[in-house]
């Protein structure tokens, strides 16, 4: 059901009628500002792009329209350089010559992200076939080049692909909850409040000031908040799942795993009034000993 809804969302994104006026003809290339509504490619370090781009889109509107269907994939953070790779094609940097991604970058992103796309029934698309990109040389965008310049991915482990999205669960017993707490890397009780004016396309909620951490796991004291803030910004699918029945926000118990510096929420519970099992488990957790 959730997968079908997600696929439907993608379909709606993909099938947009392209108004005639937006089409421009291919001729010489030109530099245009990256449109403000091109969420895929904001904040990459450059603000203008080459048009037509490397995917043959003739107008900024066309590029924006086709780029929106990639946002859910990025929300899964399937690869740390997925955005750099996609934007090198959708919004290529405007220099005197064409800068394309290297084949190694494409292969790396594809190997991490294609399994995620397959979860939703989409194969790696023909327009992104890695054979078309040059083997690594100095004039293409490679993963190594980014690492050397110290972007925000020092030593980051490329995450293992997973089809699982977080789900809002129903607590059935405190025993099951305690078992879940033991298996999870972290357990935290948070309040999510809806933003009145959304300055960002992706973030709709913000984190309440009080965090009740039941289990820190590998995260240090102050890291929990920053990791949760990052999760809130990037995992739009998970946040959407939690807040589908709580459009104005609410209090939730979040459990999940930590990989490197990335926090992944796997299961969550709505913490409302008369949540007997949640309260019971929280109390018992203080003196609970996990097996093994």
């Amino acid at each position: 059901m959730m997968l079908a809804a997600f696929a439907l969302l993608l379909l709606l994104l993909g099938i947009g009628a392209m108004p005639n006026g937006h089409w421009e003809h291919q001729g010489t290339s030109r530099c245009v500002p990256i449109p403000a509504n091109m969420a895929l490619c904001q904040g990459l370090g450059y603000s203008s792009m080459r048009m037509p781009n490397l995917l043959g889109h003739e107008s900024p509107a066309e590029a924006v329209q086709q780029s929106t269907s990639w946002l859910p994939l990025l929300a899964r953070e399937c690869h740390p350089h997925a955005r750099i790779f996609l934007c090198s094609l959708f919004a290529p940097v405007c220099l005197e010559r064409i800068i394309s991604p290297c084949r190694s970058l494409c292969v790396s992103v594809r190997d991490s992200c294609a399994p995620i796309m397959n979860c939703y029934g989409y194969p790696w698309p023909r327009i992104l076939q890695c054979d078309q990109f040059p083997k690594d040389h100095l004039m293409c965008i490679s993963s190594v080049a980014n690492l050397q310049n110290g972007t925000s991915n020092e030593g980051r482990v490329v995450p293992r692909a997973s089809c699982t999205d977080c789900e809002l669960e129903e607590a059935t017993s405190s025993k099951e909850l305690l078992d879940l707490f033991c298996k999870s890397d972290f357990v935290v009780k948070v309040r999510l409040s809806k933003l009145n004016s959304s300055s960002s396309v992706l973030t709709m909620f913000f984190l309440g000031s009080r965090l009740e951490v039941l289990k820190h796991g590998p995260l240090l004291g102050g890291e929990m908040r920053s990791r949760l803030t990052l999760w809130l910004e990037r995992d739009a699918t998970c946040v959407g799942n939690l807040t589908r029945n709580h459009p104005n926000g609410g209090t939730f118990l979040l459990t999940g795993t930590v990989t490197g510096k990335r926090l992944l929420v796997n299961k969550a519970f709505s913490w409302g009034k008369r949540q007997r099992h949640l309260n019971q488990a929280a109390r018992k957790w203080k003196s609970h000993r996990c097996r093994g």
């Binding site: 379909l11 993909g14 392209m18 005639n20 089409w23 003809h25 269907s69 005197e96 023909r126």
Partner: protein
């Protein structure tokens, strides 16, 4: 007394003949126009226009910038297409033309066809890009697309391009002055139509993937024109196989018919010429030949740019040239390119 008197009408006659013969493509002189045409008074000062073209200029002022662009395209594309030939389109600037384009040669046939194609092509593209507000996208085809395909985008408006382009470029050939150059007019009109037919043939289906996440589940298609350089290459093929014709009575009118072939009408898609061309080996102002002395040639080629053919067997001189070029370029994230400078010695060859 007798000597001076007959020379006067002869000069007049010569002037009229020359004037008639070369007016057809004099509008190519617009390629040198730096002025932006936004007032009807500017139409009077434009070089190379006949009166009906000046009138079109005044009534379609918006169109003139596109036509100037077309003239520039003709020069650029022609010289690029013939860069490997002895005749290389050097004299295309106008408004005065050398005999290679004045006489009804094979070369003039190509230039007339390319000019007719270029002006219609440039106008059609200007409709698509929005540079011309007089027109818009071409029509959406009436046929229902296959499953997974849909019509979209902005088709090149070839209909408007052909309409306005031919109105402008054919205007000199359709003036009603009676003169002895009817054969040349017929030739130019025919070759211009060949160029426009090449343009119609260059309207092809173009498609793009617009499915979800880059898939090709939905393809958006439109009718677009090939680039002008592709059309020029097609016309060059026709140039190489052009047919010599004569002006001969057929029925009640005189028409152009192939000279050395069996009796048949001229085909719609073949370029025709009335005068044989020189070999363009030696400089000859009377024939409009620049000659190939000091032209660069390709020692390793076996085509028309080879040293043997380009130099007409006269031989060639090698020389070396030092070239400084950028090398070891590197892209830095984010976002700039650095290069080093490399010296390089290249050997070149010029015809004796």
């Amino acid at each position: 007394m007798k000597r001076t008197f007959p020379s006067l009408p002869l000069c007049l006659l010569t002037f009229l003949l020359l004037s008639q013969q070369c007016t057809g493509i004099r509008w190519l002189a617009l390629s040198q126009t730096a002025q932006h045409i936004n007032k009807t008074q500017h139409c009077k000062t434009l070089p190379g226009l006949v009166s009906s073209q000046a009138q079109l200029c005044r009534s379609n002022l918006e169109l003139m910038q596109t036509i100037i662009q077309a003239a520039r395209e003709v020069k650029k594309v022609c010289q690029k297409t013939f860069t490997d030939m002895r005749w290389n389109c050097s004299s295309i600037d106008g408004p005065k033309f050398l005999p290679d384009l004045e006489r009804g040669t094979r070369e003039s046939a190509f230039v007339y066809a390319l000019s007719a194609a270029a002006i219609s092509h440039t106008i059609a593209r200007a409709c698509t890009s929005g540079d011309l507000r007089l027109c818009s996208c071409g029509p959406i085809p009436g046929e229902i697309p296959e499953p997974g395909y849909r019509w979209g985008g902005c088709a090149d408006n070839i209909h408007y391009g052909l309409l306005m382009g031919s109105k402008f470029s054919d205007a000199p050939m359709k003036m009603k002055k009676k003169s002895g150059s009817h054969a040349n007019k017929l030739m130019h009109l025919h070759n211009s139509e060949v160029g426009r037919q090449a343009l119609r043939d260059a309207l092809v289906m173009k498609c793009k993937c617009h499915g979800v996440s880059g898939s090709c589940s939905i393809r958006t298609c439109w009718r677009g024109l090939l680039d002008l350089k592709d059309i020029a290459i097609d016309l060059k093929t026709k140039y190489l196989s052009a047919t010599k014709v004569v002006h001969r009575p057929m029925g009640t009118r005189k028409q152009l018919v192939p000279k050395d072939i069996d009796i048949r009408p001229v085909r719609e898609n073949e370029l025709v010429y009335l005068q044989s061309s020189p070999d363009y080996c030696m400089k000859n102002d009377k024939l409009g030949s620049f000659g190939t002395q000091d032209r660069q040639c390709n020692k390793t080629s076996s085509g028309s740019d080879s040293c043997d053919l380009m130099c007409c067997g006269r031989g060639y001189n090698p020389y070396t040239e030092r070239v400084v070029e950028r090398c070891h370029c590197k892209y830095h994230w984010c976002c700039y390119v650095t290069c080093k400078k490399c010296d390089k010695t290249v050997e070149k060859y010029v015809c004796k």
